[in-house]
C-alpha cells in the first residue's frame, strides 16, 4: 500500500545513536534481505529507468516537430541524470532520511542521511511485511521515481523552453515540491500517509504532481509561437508508439515494484497494469469513434498512458475488474481534457503532460477509493474505513498535492525565469531548438 510504513523501524534508535537501524534490537539477529525480493526490486528499478530512457524520451520526442526532437531527448536525459545526483545528495534525506523531526515538520520532510551517510552494503530498508530489502536497492528504486517525475513535466513545456532554464528549474522543483510530497505520501510520518491516503505507486506523488507542475510551467513559459492556429503535427508516431511500448513494459517495475517484494501484492499490481492499460487504450479509440473521428494510433497510445497513470495509485489496491473500469473512465476523462478543454482554456500543454498525467492521476487517485472496495473485487480488509470516508481522504490528498505542486512550481519557475529566462528567442523557436540550443539536427 504505502511503501515505507515499516521504514520507521529503528529510526529512533538510528537517530539517537547514529547506528544501523537493526542495532535497536540486540537480541534479534540482523535481518538479511531475501535474494528473491532483492532481485525483483533491482529488476524493477532498471525497468523504471527504461521508462525514462528511452521510453518517455521517445514517447515525447515523437510528438514534437522534427526540429525539436533532440531538445526533447536531451532535456529528458539531462533532467533524469540531474535528479539522480540530487537524490543521493539531499533528495533521499528529505523524503526518506533516517532523522525524523519533532513536531509538524515531520509531516513534510525528514533529515539525516545526507550524501547517503550511514548507509553501506549491509544496510536494509523495511518492506510491508517482516522482510527487508537492501537499502541501496530501495534508494535506487526511489531515485528513479524522482527522475521520471521531473522528466514528465517537460512534455508541457516542449518546443520552447530553454535547456538552461530546465537545468535551473529541476533542482529547485525537486527540493521544494517532489521530495516533500514523496515524504508526505510514502514516509511513515508523512502527512497524507498518516491520514490513510491510498497511493500504491505514485498517482499523487508522480502523476498529479508532474501534471500540475507542467501546467503551471506551461503558463509561465507561454504558448508556442503560432499555437493553436498553426498545425503542429507529431513528427513520428512510430517513435511515440515505441516509447509507449517501453513505458508499458517499464511500468511493471513501477507498479509491481512498489510492493517492495516479489509477493502476491506485486502479482496483483502486475495483472492490473496489464488490464487497466489495455482497457484504457481501447477506450480512447472508442471515444474517438463516438466523437465522429477514426480510431487512431496516437489515440491508442494516449489511452495506454491514461490507463497506466490511473492504475498507478490503484495497482495493488484494486481487483482486475476495478482496474479495467478505472482505465476506461480515465481514458474518457483525459480525452475530454486533451481534445476539448485545452483549446477552450487556451493553455499550451504541448504534449499533454497535464491532460493525461495530471487528469489521469486525479481520476486514479479518487477512483482508488472506489475500486479498493470489496464489492468491486478490491482488496479492502473488513475493517477498512468506509467508502465515503476513504473518498474524502483521497480527495484531500489530491487537493493538497495540487496546491503544493502549483505553488512550488510557480516559485521554482519564477526563480529560473529571473536567473536565465525561461524561453528561447523567437528566431530560435522558429528554427527549432535542436540547432539553436544543441547545435545538432536529429535527422540528416
Amino acid at each position: 500500500m504505502i511503501r515505507s510504513n515499516a521504514l520507521l523501524t529503528g529510526l529512533a534508535a538510528a537517530f539517537i545513536a547514529s547506528q544501523p537501524a537493526f542495532a535497536a534490537a540486540p537480541v534479534a539477529a540482523a535481518p538479511t534481505p531475501n535474494p528473491g525480493n532483492n532481485a525483483w526490486m533491482m529488476t524493477s528499478t532498471v525497468l523504471v529507468m527504461l521508462m525514462i530512457l528511452p521510453g518517455l524520451a521517445l514517447f515525447y520526442g515523437g510528438l514534437t516537430r522534427s526540429k525539436n526532437m533532440l531538445s526533447m531527448l536531451t532535456q529528458i536525459g539531462a533532467t533524469a541524470s540531474l535528479a539522480m545526483i540530487i537524490w543521493v545528495m539531499w533528495g533521499f534525506s528529505l523524503a526518506f532520511g533516517d532523522t525524523s523531526y519533532d513536531g509538524w515538520l515531520s509531516n513534510f520532510v525528514s533529515g539525516g542521511s545526507y550524501f547517503l551517510s550511514g548507509t553501506d552494503a549491509s544496510s536494509t530498508a523495511a518492506t510491508f511485511t517482516d522482510e527487508v530489502i537492501s537499502k541501496y536497492v530501495f534508494i535506487s528504486f526511489q531515485m528513479t521515481f524522482a527522475a521520471i517525475t521531473a522528466a514528465l513535466i517537460l512534455g508541457a513545456t516542449a518546443e520552447r523552453m530553454k535547456f538552461n532554464a530546465v537545468m535551473v528549474f529541476v533542482p529547485i522543483w525537486l527540493t521544494i515540491v517532489y521530495f516533500p510530497i514523496a515524504h508526505m505520501v510514502w514516509a511513515g510520518d508523512g502527512l497524507l500517509f498518516k491520514d490513510g491516503a491510498l497511493d500504491f505507486a505514485g498517482g499523487t506523488v508522480v502523476h498529479i504532481n508532474a501534471g500540475v507542475s507542467g501546467l503551471v510551467l506551461a503558463y509561465l513559459v507561454g504558448k508556442r509561437r503560432g499555437w493553436p492556429q498553426e498545425p503542429m503535427p507529431p513528427h513520428s508516431l512510430v517513435m511515440t508508439m515505441i516509447g509507449t511500448g517501453l513505458l508499458w513494459v517499464g511500468w511493471f517495475g513501477f507498479n509491481a515494484g512498489s510492493a517492495l517484494e516479489a509477493d502476491g501484492s506485486a502479482g496483483l499490481a502486475m495483472i492490473n497494469t496489464f488490464v487497466a492499460t489495455a482497457a484504457g487504450g481501447l477506450a480512447w479509440m472508442v471515444v474517438e469513434r463516438m466523437a465522429g473521428h477514426k480510431g487512431s494510433a496516437l489515440g491508442f497510445c494516449s489511452g495506454v498512458i491514461a490507463g497506466l497513470v490511473a492504475v498507478t495509485p490503484a495497482a495493488g489496491n484494486s481487483g482486475p475488474f476495478g482496474a479495467i473500469l478505472l482505465g476506461i473512465v480515465s481514458s474518457a476523462v483525459c480525452y475530454f481534457f486533451v481534445a476539448k478543454m485545452k483549446t477552450k482554456f487556451g493553455y499550451d500543454d504541448a504534449l499533454d503532460a497535464f491532460g493525461i498525467h495530471g487528469v489521469g492521476g486525479i481520476v486514479g487517485a479518487i477512483g482508488t477509493a472506489i475500486v479498493y472496495q470489496k464489492f468491486l473485487g478490491g482488496p479492502a480488509p473488513d475493517d477498512a474505513v468506509p467508502l465515503g470516508e476513504q473518498l474524502w481522504i483521497q480527495i484531500k490528498g489530491v487537493l493538497i498535492t495540487i496546491a503544493w505542486a502549483g505553488i512550488g512550481s510557480v516559485i521554482a519557475g519564477l526563480i529560473a525565469k529571473a536567473v536565465v529566462g525561461l524561453r528561447v528567442e523567437e528566431e530560435d523557436e522558429v528554427n527549432g531548438l535542436d540547432i539553436a540550443e544543441h547545435g545538432e539536427r536529429a535527422y540528416n
Binding site: P231, H293, L298, G299, S302, V338, K342, T343, D352, G355
Partner: protein, 112 residues
C-alpha cells in the same frame, strides 16, 4: 518537339509507365510533388486537434517527345490515369525549343 508535363495520382505511376513503354516512349522524368486543385486536401486529427492539409501528394511526369507522337502520348496518359474522380490530375503540353544529348552532343529529335 513537345514537352509534356503530367501531374497524376501516385498509384497510377506504374500503369502509365507501362502504357507509355508500349507505344514506344523510351524515357521520362518522375518526381514526387505536392499540390492542390479542385480536390481539397485531407484532414488529420491529433488528440482532437484538427489540421486540414491543403496539399496532396502527386506524381509529376516530364516527357520530351517528337511532334508526331505528342497527341498519342497525351491520350495514353489521359486514358490510363483516368478514374473518373476529382484529383486525377492534369496534362500540360509545351513547345520544346531544343534538346541535347549530353554524351554525344546530338541535338534535335535525334536526342530524344
Amino acid at each position: 518537339m513537345k514537352f509534356i508535363i503530367a501531374v497524376i495520382k501516385p498509384f497510377k505511376l506504374d500503369e502509365v509507365r507501362e502504357a507509355l513503354s508500349d507505344i514506344g516512349i523510351a524515357g521520362m522524368t518522375v518526381s514526387e510533388v505536392k499540390g492542390f486543385g479542385r480536390q481539397k486536401g485531407q484532414t488529420e486529427i491529433y488528440r482532437g486537434a484538427e489540421y486540414s492539409t491543403n496539399m496532396l501528394p502527386k506524381v509529376k511526369l516530364e516527357i520530351a517527345v517528337s511532334d508526331e507522337v505528342a497527341d498519342q502520348v497525351v491520350e495514353t496518359i489521359q486514358q490510363t490515369v483516368n478514374t473518373q474522380s476529382i484529383g486525377d490530375g492534369k496534362i500540360f503540353v509545351l513547345d520544346l525549343a531544343s534538346a541535347t544529348r549530353i554524351r554525344t552532343g546530338e541535338s534535335g529529335e535525334t536526342a530524344l
